[in-house]
Subunit: 416 residues, 2 copies
């Protein structure tokens, strides 16, 4: 077998097989939305493949996560994570690449006497596509899911989350009991497509993820007074949109001047929004991200100061409402080093970068040493059937993930 | 009678009487939308009052405009214009102040041997509130209405403009025949509330209007490429909203640096307008106004240049679509002088200012010497029941309008 025991070409073939079964690049995109029949079909396909691997035990936990365990001399376990669920009309790689690379890694390790245990986990409902709550299975497993926060969620047909879970033999109030799966967990590894343009622009197939960004998300509301576009001289206007526009530029410029952070204006709603008046109200979203908590706090402080200064100059008022926040989840330094080695051995060059999107790894990072690998995304696209990665890069990612698993097993056995 | 023959207090009482009959400051605002029963009621009230004035002949023309004629030695006529129609829930002064001040002026002149003819015209449907086409009656009278442009208009209940006109004995295809009313017209005078904050801020009751602004109205569309707020570094973004925001500020700053012009961003639509992505498309309206055609053209040229420069810097493209334009309609220099005199005699100080909103006077200005007077609006408000002007200022406006009519009659008789 090429690549030290792992058959990366088989992983690519299995990705295509899954796309054939439940959608992917063609046929409108993938259809593996969690808690639906096609997701069940995908998991039955996965479970069938896992059951064929020598010495592997397959089970489901109380949160609906699927585990495949290859026991070693010690119960101490290295976890390999992925999610086979997708968004509607999703790509052929987002989530299932991770699961299939983990399966191929388990296959490569299965004939050996392992010093520690290796476990694949296929998380249930990473995307939150049906009920709007992402990382559902992994947050339950991390004992970080509050059932009350999600009990009232319904899908677009009015079906409640608890009812949908019950149809898949999951009891919302017992989901956090899945936490006992982590009893002996000692490290968590995950591979994912980048979903961004960084690696492609650097012409690199692979990168090591330094952690997931912390996020500060606010709605910023500017309040002036609308009036007629003809009768109101420029110098007496209290134009809320102009204040918002100046602020959005200030937020953007601040982020652009810092090292590898983000600031994004998303929705923008003005009122009265007619051609014959300037606007008395403008409400817009600001999403700020950074890997360092102090940097993130400084960005938010700066944005509020800028918003105040600009609002004073434009004679409007400004209000901030926090709508979401999550702290940065930096990954483990030792595992980042091992991942760098694995990538360099496979691809010659590695690169370290933060993750913009969240991943199941963010739920594991506070609990155990964690790291992720990114493989190049073409044009940075994901969550669409246009999502793609060259096959040779997919193969390189499977090979590097396998090497990282081997290195982590070695590191763990030294500590076991 | 005070004020040289005009009874300005009676005009105020009649404004209140009309408000009592068809809404005004109280009771939800005025309800005199053209081509409705309450507008008919208001006009019957007006017609009744006009018919009581000695030597006055009242008639309707083919466009539904109401004329009251006080014949003088010459057929050459000075026109005093107004409109009794209002927007829904409108103010107690917009439009009807003009009509009632003209009626009071006709009353003051009616006992005299006049060298020229004086005519009041109450224009039909200045506001365009029901069918969206403003200046309907005055544009027909100016022979500037294209029936095909308005034939397809419907109100919110689906009733067509031609059907509604027919119910009021107006045939769309014959409206322009009303143009013969202007055969002997030699000057046009109109009084209006300012609908802006300029006079109030200068603590002046009255001003002379220099003309109505020319308008260039465009939809400006910026096209980049949306992507995820977390995964896309700042330096590779093609953020259409940021380009639009920078452009809106450039348009505003350019107008603020010029003398008495306007530039207004009205609606702003971004896409995909979600918190987790920057925007790939932003479409916004730009409304530019100036009294000088060359200045207006220069503003538009500058805006397009700025939009291109900014779009290049932000790596997006930009498209301009013209949605409306009208050339500036400067008023007559001699009448501006006479108006200045009239105001100075009544109020001590005059001030010259352009009109942001359009008025029926804009339709008359290309056809004959035209001028308007503005009276102070409190807080610049109009098209709302909060619209107001102190009664002493309303009285001053009626007195000044009467003096302007006297001066214009004198000027005309010199030319008759």
């Amino acid at each position: 077998m090429p690549n030290g025991g792992v058959d990366a070409k088989r992983a690519v073939e299995e990705l295509k097989e899954l796309a054939e079964l439940t959608g992917g690049k063609d046929d409108g995109g993938s259809r593996r939305v969690a808690w639906t029949d096609e997701w069940v079909k995908a998991r039955e396909w996965l479970e069938g493949k896992l059951s064929e691997i020598e010495n592997v035990e397959v089970e489901r936990d109380e949160a609906g996560n699927l585990w495949a365990t290859l026991r070693g001399a010690s119960e101490k376990a290295v976890l390999l994570g992925g999610h086979i669920d997708s968004v509607p009309n999703g790509g052929w790689l987002d989530g299932c690449l991770n699961t299939i690379a983990a399966m191929e890694t388990i296959r490569a390790l299965s004939g050996r006497d392992l010093p520690v245990t290796v476990r694949l986990v296929d998380w249930a409902d990473e995307e939150g596509a049906r009920f709007g709550r992402s990382l559902l299975g992994s947050s339950a497993c991390a004992n970080a899911l509050d059932p009350e926060e999600v009990r009232g969620l319904t899908d677009k047909d009015g079906i409640s989350l608890p009812d949908a879970l019950r149809e898949h033999s999951v009891d919302l109030d017992r989901m956090n009991e899945s936490h006992k799966q982590l009893e002996n967990a000692a490290a968590y590894l995950e591979l994912h497509i980048e979903q961004g343009p960084v690696l492609e622009r650097m012409n690199l197939p692979l990168g090591v993820v330094l952690g997931t960004f912390g996020v500060e998300r606010h709605v910023v509301k500017f309040i002036g007074q609308h009036a007629h576009s003809g009768s109101t001289p420029m110098d007496v206007r209290r134009d809320a949109f102009i204040a918002a526009a100046r602020s959005a530029i200030a937020f953007r410029d601040d982020a652009a001047a810092r090292d590898d952070v983000r600031a994004t204006t998303g929705f923008v709603n003005v009122s009265p929004a007619i051609v014959t008046a300037f606007n008395g109200v403008c409400e817009m979203s600001l999403d700020q991200r950074a890997l360092d908590a102090d940097v993130l706090a400084d960005m938010l402080r700066g944005a509020k100061e800028n918003g105040e200064l600009i609002s004073d100059e434009e004679n409007v008022s400004v209000e901030w409402e926090k709508v979401w926040e999550i702290e940065p989840r930096p990954f483990d330094e030792k595992l980042v080093e091992l991942a760098d080695e694995a990538i360099s051995e496979v691809a010659g060059t590695s690169h370290r970068l933060p993750s913009g999107p969240l991943h199941d790894a963010a739920e594991m990072a506070p609990l155990m040493p964690t790291v992720m690998l990114f493989v190049k995304s073409l044009r940075g696209l994901s969550h669409t059937k246009e999502e793609d990665t060259p096959e040779k890069d997919i193969e390189a990612s499977v090979a590097a993930f396998h090497r990282l698993a081997e290195k982590t097993v070695g590191w763990m056995s030294g500590r076991a």
